[in-house]
């Protein structure tokens, strides 16, 4: 039997307005190379000036994972030669990163938890992008110099499932802190996976293989499973030592395999040394005080929802998975909808209607509107069934809830005069059933209520109908 050892490196793009060492905007989709200047193009003589906000956000992250914040950290120079880096080096933090020795908890379905240690989180500059075309490559340096936070876990995960739980928790924390868009498809949350195996019971770590840049949770899961299978097979075939080497591999989604990217004989020599163009980075008292005041994190919020709203663990998990979702829910409740109905109408009715890439953030129905729909059910104005029609309508049209109820004629009749008239008609039309009921056939009560609801075309308030039918049949 084998044990799987997984460590993860995540590059999170910090959502600052400007680059790490110059004032060029970090916004994307601009014409290539327009967000560049002598500093990020590495022209001789141009010097880096550190972005305050990047340091602030790194300290926020360190606080969230209960880590040591190094009030003094240093930059180092990592040399490599590639056209996406005009300086031929990357400024990073190797020896003294800003954040060290943190951890986060992952939650299993049976409510048990596991602590995953985070070795470090350091600040570094991103590279530009290359587009390969025939016998040339086009270089766009708009992204060059964008701030990254590289978050390195300890090899504490023992399965692909644990790795995914860790990544989802990390993703959620980053989103709650609002330090990154953390969009995997757009590359603002990039994951490198280190995988090795060892016979169960052994303490020694064997050869680790790195799988780079996989851009969805599903593919990461798959890539790990496939790589683990490859290593186990090599072990069992007696070719582990020759087949499994320390290297970087790519996950090929179409072929469902991992493939060698560069061999160890080409292992890069990065010639790290302290960055001479920057002095030490110091988190002063004012920044430390401000950056350690962080918003409520997903775990705390989930706990609170369970306590405060008597929510079950599953619903609390779903609602707190994204800060936008939690905010949506809390707005609904703050505006007067009950927590119980808000959960259902948000997680079942609204989420069920969001399609084609529409998210909770871009939903045409905002929290205030959905809250109003729920309140109109709760005050008896409309039935739950009618509310679904109102929601359907509002997914397509921009309008006020009350106006839509009016327009679609969905208002429940609670007016006892009108309801009594309908009840009388129903009773008159069914004299035999009335007689049967009065002679003890209690089950017919539902029949009368049903007939009244039908006669009112569903617009009658069921509670009022119940009361009136009960009174009339006396």
């Amino acid at each position: 039997m084998f044990e799987v050892i997984i460590g993860l490196e995540v590059h999170v793009q910090l959502n600052t307005k400007t680059k790490l060492f110059c004032s060029c905007p970090t916004s994307f989709n601009h014409t290539q190379n327009t967000n560049t200047c002598p500093t990020c193009l590495a022209l001789p003589g141009a010097l880096p000036v550190f972005n305050r906000e990047a340091l602030h956000k790194a300290v926020m992250f360190g606080t969230a994972i209960d880590a040591t914040i190094n009030r003094t950290s240093y930059f180092d120079r990592k040399s490599y030669f590639y056209p996406d880096s005009p300086s031929a080096y990357q400024i990073t933090q190797l020896y003294t990163p800003v954040v060290e020795h943190g951890h986060l908890m992952i939650d299993f379905e049976d409510a048990s938890q596991k602590r995953i240690r985070i070795n470090r989180a350091h600040i570094e500059a991103d590279a530009g992008k290359n587009i390969h075309e025939g016998d040339i490559s086009k270089v766009d340096l708009n992204r060059a110099g964008t701030p990254l936070l590289e978050i390195v876990s300890e090899p504490d995960m023992r399965s692909a499932d644990e790795a995914i739980l860790y990544l989802k928790k990390l993703h959620s924390i980053v989103r709650y802190l609002d330090i990154s868009d953390a969009n995997m498809q757009e590359g603002s949350f990039r994951v490198d996976v280190n995988v090795s195996i060892r016979p169960k019971g052994e303490e020694k770590l064997y050869t680790r293989v790195e799988i780079k840049n996989i851009n969805s949770f599903r593919f990461i899961q798959k890539a790990i499973e496939i790589e683990v299978a490859r290593q186990i097979e090599a072990w069992e075939d007696g070719v582990y030592a020759s087949e499994i080497v320390q290297e970087t591999r790519l996950f090929d989604q179409a072929k469902q395999e991992t493939r060698s990217m560069r061999g160890k004989e080409e292992a890069a020599d990065y010639r790290y040394f302290p960055e001479p163009d920057l002095l030490k980075a110091v988190v002063d008292d004012a920044m430390f005080a401000a950056a350690t005041q962080i918003p409520e994190l997903p775990d705390a919020k989930r706990e609170r929802f369970v306590q405060e709203y008597a929510m079950n663990a599953y619903n609390a998990e779903v609602i707190t998975s994204l800060p936008e979702m939690a905010r949506y829910f809390e707005t609904m409740v703050a505006l007067g909808a009950s927590a119980k109905n808000s959960v259902t109408w948000l997680t079942v009715e609204l989420l069920g209607r969001l399609k084609n890439g529409v998210t909770i953030e871009t939903s045409p129905v905002r929290a205030a509107t959905l809250s109003m729909i729920v309140k109109r059910i709760e005050d008896g104005t409309i039935s739950g069934k009618a509310a679904k029609e109102v929601l359907d309508y509002l997914m397509e049209h921009d309008a006020e809830v009350d106006a839509v109820i009016e327009k679609l004629g969905l208002k429940q009749v609670s007016d006892s005069g009108a309801l009594e008239k309908i009840v009388d008609e129903v009773l008159l039309a069914n004299p035999d059933k009335v007689a049967e009921y009065r002679s003890g056939k209690d089950k017919l009560f539902g029949f009368f209520v049903g007939q009244v609801m039908k006669a009112s075309k569903g617009s009658a308030n069921p509670q009022s109908v119940n009361d009136i039918v009960k009174a009339k049949l006396g």
Binding site: N33, T36, P38, D135, V139, F273, K280
Partner: protein, 96 residues
């Protein structure tokens, strides 16, 4: 370090510079001298100096996160690049 014609060719390649034949011997000799000059530094005993040592003990200056970019500058830089097209820098094909 041995500076020879091979190294000079490599540097020409990396720097996009071309050294004419009649200057090669002179430049090789000068580079040799430069390296010898820098080698003087190895006489200093740095064994008790931290890697993070800097001439100044002050912290690096922090910049406010306010965007500014003068696109005329990058237009100019692209214009002077050995090859550019549609505001891209163009480089020889990179073998992945």
């Amino acid at each position: 370090m041995q500076v020879d014609d091979t190294l000079l060719s490599k540097l020409e390649n990396l720097s996009y510079l071309k050294v004419s034949d009649d200057k090669r011997a002179e430049i090789i000799a000068q580079m040799d001298k430069m390296i010898a000059f820098v080698d003087n530094l190895s006489e200093l005993d740095t064994s008790r100096i931290e890697g993070s040592f800097a001439m100044s003990d002050t912290a690096t200056r922090l910049r406010e996160d306010t965007p500014f970019c003068d696109t005329r500058i990058n237009d100019d830089i692209l214009m002077h690049a050995p090859r550019s097209d549609e505001h891209f820098f163009i480089v020889p094909k990179i073998i992945e």
